[in-house]
């Protein structure tokens, strides 16, 4: 055993040395380093949320770097199969030891090729964000980069051994690589991974942690299947007389293959089941990378529009998850921090990029940090967010980073010391001087001697179409509420263009529609620009609206349909909230778990939106969406196909959606609407199980909620 280990390590040492001394190795390592520099986006790194560049590096070094690895791995794996390798094969080295040593050498070789790039990442992240960023770096490498590399290595080994010709191996591997798990793209059926390479919830978005777990388990089990197959093939083609493998060895190989196949099958099934979980998922506590968690965030801003200056105060309350002495900030360089403080504590100071707190904050402590600052207004209407994002290099102000991934940070905006971060929970805005129309659904508006004070207690994104369409009509039963068709032109206009100019076009169109100029209300939500119509209405395009605009521009999907569908959805929610006097809830992208108690109301609304907007969407669209949702449930389909984009995966229960359609067909529109209104009156909170809902339907209409089947339309 000991001598086998010594032999194995010896082979690894020389295989590795052979690896490292080839001319390809240096070139590949240099190219990986260059790739990582590109994806770090150094010039703007300081203004970013640290995890995003790390995510990019981990994802793209794996996918793009994979091509480079082929040139390193293929020659190494076929060199013993060239004529002239007899002096190796005539030696007593056992095949399993030799194969395993080559695998280990390949793994270490690949790691060493990536090492300079990873080292650079670590150094840069430490410099910009502090040593705490090494932890997310390690996590993302383990969760995103490593599975890709393991799959690439196992694929390269099998293909190079099978073909034994470098050129053919490169061609086949490249073809496979095109289908290798990518981060966002659709996956063709022949993709070796068979499923999307799901991004990780560790970075604050992406599917459920459990889905990622099964996804990675699937990738690892497929990799191991490939390696076991490669080993069997290696034994078969090794150019020497083979002693027949023992029964035990055969049993082990067969057993491991069966076990791995079962494991990968189980992973697929679990992925299919879990993929119905809403996307984006809520924060997953088990993978939170923050050392602190935000509890409350109140922003006070006082603006003098005439002088173009502002003062502000941020109150950030957070719970400590790890003992910390420093909170790092990425402060807006256009602002000057006057002081930082924590009530009841001394020893809080801002030094360079961090708030130094002594003594250490302890786990479980609830802390409120207050930041006082001032700055200058620099509106820039060329920006999609309508505010200038100050260039760090043009400013001498301190830039740093907030909490090392504590809050969801992005490029610093103009009014908040860390704007484009998570929206404040409460915003108090005091506008001095004359400001014409400023509503924006504020909870409280007061006239002050120096101007106006606006307070938002629960800031939420509004909806472009929903709010703007309040001028128009939308028919729900006999009641005239909103009319989405009047905004068809708007939807057609904004659909094909990129998100960066959507705002400009929206402004122009709505200005024309209103017959008067529209002023832009300067409200400090960079991601959610707000527009003030002359008579006081203000609206915020939803993030999803912009997301789809961007999607349509880059991927050329049938964007107008998407917008129309989404608009119908938003309007139905607006109608619902007007009816119920509730806040308009953002539209979820993704599916609820079937049978989720939260899913019934959104599903009813979504179904009604589809039915009510058939004039906008067309009969065939509605039919095909219902059919697609039925297929999702009955055939367990969750591949991303163009249909998924045309039929947005709104946050509903697919099964209930289809069953409601069958019920509508039985009851007719009027009876169905009466049922819905009755439902709202009975279940104001909308929380009930499917069983309860079935009982309700039967009781109210005398008709049973039809079961899910594949026949009806």
């Amino acid at each position: 055993m000991r001598s086998t280990l010594a032999t194995l390590l010896g082979i690894v040492r020389y295989q590795l040395r052979d690896f490292l001394r080839t001319r390809y190795f240096g070139v590949i390592a240099a190219l990986l380093l260059a790739l990582s520099l590109v994806f770090l986006e150094l010039p703007e790194l300081a203004q970013k949320y640290a995890v995003m560049p790390i995510f990019n590096v981990a994802a793209y070094l794996g996918s793009l770097g994979g091509i480079l690895l082929f040139f390193m791995l293929v020659p190494q794996w076929i060199k013993e199969f060239h004529p002239g390798a007899d002096m190796v094969w005539s030696r007593e080295i056992p095949t399993p030891v030799f194969f395993f040593a080559k695998i280990v050498a390949s793994l270490i070789g690949v790691f060493l090729a990536y090492f300079p790039a990873l080292l650079l990442n670590a150094a840069v992240l430490c410099y910009y964000f502090g040593s705490f960023s090494l932890r997310p770096l390690g996590q993302l490498i383990a969760i995103i980069l490593l599975p890709q590399l393991v799959l690439i290595i196992s694929l390269s080994v099998l293909v190079s051994l099978t073909l034994q010709k470098p050129l053919w191996s490169y061609v086949v591997l490249f073809v496979l690589w095109i289908g290798l798990p990518s981060v966002y793209e659709k996956v063709p059926w022949w993709n070796i991974s068979l499923r999307r390479f799901f991004p990780s919830p560790v970075i604050g978005f992406g599917p459920h942690t459990e889905l990622v777990f099964w996804n990675r388990l699937y990738i690892y089990s497929v990799s191991l299947i490939l390696l076991v197959a490669a080993f069997s093939f290696f034994r078969l083609i090794e150019p020497r007389i083979k002693n027949a493998p023992s029964g035990l060895a055969r049993l082990l190989i067969l057993g491991s293959m069966i076990a791995l196949c079962i494991l990968s099958g189980q992973s697929i099934r679990n992925m299919a089941a879990i993929s119905r979980v809403s996307f984006p998922a809520s924060n997953n506590e088990d993978l939170l990378i923050s050392s602190v968690a935000l509890e409350a965030f109140t922003q006070y801003i006082e603006v003098d529009l005439a002088q173009e200056i502002l003062w502000g105060k941020s109150e950030i309350t957070f719970v400590v998850h790890q003992p910390i002495t420093t909170l790092h900030f990425n402060l807006n360089p256009g602002l000057q921090v006057d002081r930082v403080s924590i009530p009841g504590r001394t020893g809080v100071s801002l030094i360079d990029q961090g708030v130094i707190i002594t003594p250490t904050l302890n786990i479980g402590e609830l802390v409120t940090l207050i930041i006082h600052y001032q700055g200058i207004l620099k509106p820039d209407q060329n920006r999609p967010n309508l505010f200038q994002v100050p260039d760090r290099h043009q400013q001498n102000a301190t830039t740093a980073y907030l909490g090392q991934g504590t809050f969801f940070m992005a490029a610093p905006g103009n009014w908040s010391p860390f704007s484009e971060s998570l929206l404040p929970h409460r915003l108090e805005l005091v506008l001095t001087g004359v400001f014409p129309e400023m509503v924006s659904n504020a909870d409280d508006i007061r006239d002050l001697p120096k101007g106006k004070q606006l307070v938002w207690n629960h800031i939420q994104p509004g909806a472009l179409v929903a709010l703007s369409s309040s001028y128009r009509q939308f028919l729900v039963g006999d009641a005239v509420v909103y009319s989405p068709t009047d905004y068809e032109h708007l939807l057609d206009i904004v659909a094909p263009v990129s998100a960066s100019i959507v705002g400009t076009m929206e402004t122009a169109f709505l200005g024309e529609a209103q017959g008067k100029a529209i002023s832009i209300a300067i409200v400090p939500f960079n991601q959610l620009p707000q527009y003030s119509l002359g008579d006081g209405l203000i609206f915020l395009p939803e993030n999803y609206f912009r997301m789809y605009a961007s999607l349509s521009a880059t991927q050329n999907y049938e964007a107008p349909i998407i917008f129309k569908r989404l608009a119908a959805e938003i309007m139905m929610r607006a109608w619902w909230c007007q009816y119920r006097h509730c806040f308009i809830q953002p539209v979820m992208i993704g599916d609820y778990m079937e049978g989720d108690e939260d899913a019934i109301t959104p599903t009813i609304l979504s179904f009604m939106a589809l039915k009510q907007s058939q004039a906008l969407l067309g009969e065939s669209f509605a039919a095909s969406e219902i059919q697609a949702r039925r297929a999702r449930v009955l055939d367990n389909i969750f591949f991303f196909t163009p249909n998924d984009v045309i039929f947005p995966s709104l946050g509903i229960s697919n099964a209930l959606f289809v069953r409601l359609n069958d019920l509508w067909n039985q009851l007719g529109q009027d009876a169905f609407l009466r049922l819905v209104i009755s439902f709202d009156q009975t279940y104001a909170d909308g929380q009930l199980s499917i069983d309860e809902f079935e009982q309700f339907v039967f009781k109210q209409s005398g008709v049973a909620l039809p079961p899910l089947n594949s026949d009806s339309n």
């Binding site: 001598s3 010594a6 032999t7 010896g10 082979i11 020389y14 040395r17 052979d18 001394r21 080839t22 060199k79 060239h82 004529p83 002239g84 390798a85 007899d86 002096m87 190796v88 094969w89 005539s90 030696r91 007593e92 080295i93 056992p94 030799f98 150019p239 020497r240 007389i241 083979k242 002693n243």
Partner: protein, 293 residues
Amino acid sequence: MIVIENVKKIYADGTTALLDINLSIPPGIFGLLGPNGAGKTTLMRILATLIAPTSGTVSVAGFSVQTHAHEIRKIIGYLPQNYQLHPQLTAWEFLDYLGILSGMTAGRKSRIEEVLLQVGLQPHAHKKIRGLSGGMKQRIAIAQALLHNPKILIVDEPTAGLDPAERNRFRNLLAQFSIDRLVLLSTHIVADISSTCRSLTILDKGGICFTGSVADASSLAEHHVWEATLPLDKLEHFQGELIITSMIKSEDSNDVKVRYIDVMNSALVESSVSVPSTLEDSYLYAISNRKAS
């Protein structure tokens, strides 16, 4: 001791490389002589457990190549005719790597120094192989075969690419190494055999032409080797009929002194004089005789 019984080797493409070979190889240096394509390398590769015979049995030190290849690999050293070194490694590293593949643990380093000294490569031990000359690379290949002190050494065309001094050194090395061991030397260079081997087999077209001692082999062509002097213009006439082994033009006339082998045992050239045969004559005679028969 190597025992080969009724061995036949037919490759997948239908080429017959060995035909019913029966051979018993005792300890000491044993020569395997034959032209290119005779089947020497095929036989060597079978003995080195790289390929299996199509039929027949091969036993190396009592182990069958078909069933106990792993045991045989522990006791053989093999120098293939065509080999691939690892150009990125140094000579020392390469030998260390192959030593590891041979399962050497204790004493590996000192043994590497020893074989490097034996093949005269010690001064170049830490140079990358890609920077070494062809002769030096050949010496590394020889060193790797000797490295793990094998009981049986199988060397296929070992002196190709060596200069006369190196070749001589290698022959002496083989002679020294063969004490208490078996060395199978395959070559088409007759001098390598005559200067080192006690017995040999002559192979041609997959079959054995002769097996026996070098002395017996040398006398195979006895009474078939002639010397004669004839005019240069007549030489062309005989060239198709005779196996001419040497030809020296006279300095002062237009005559040529030729040494030739006449398979049919008749002096075709007038005034021919019978001369004692050498191993090379016998080798050529044996091959020609097989062709004729």
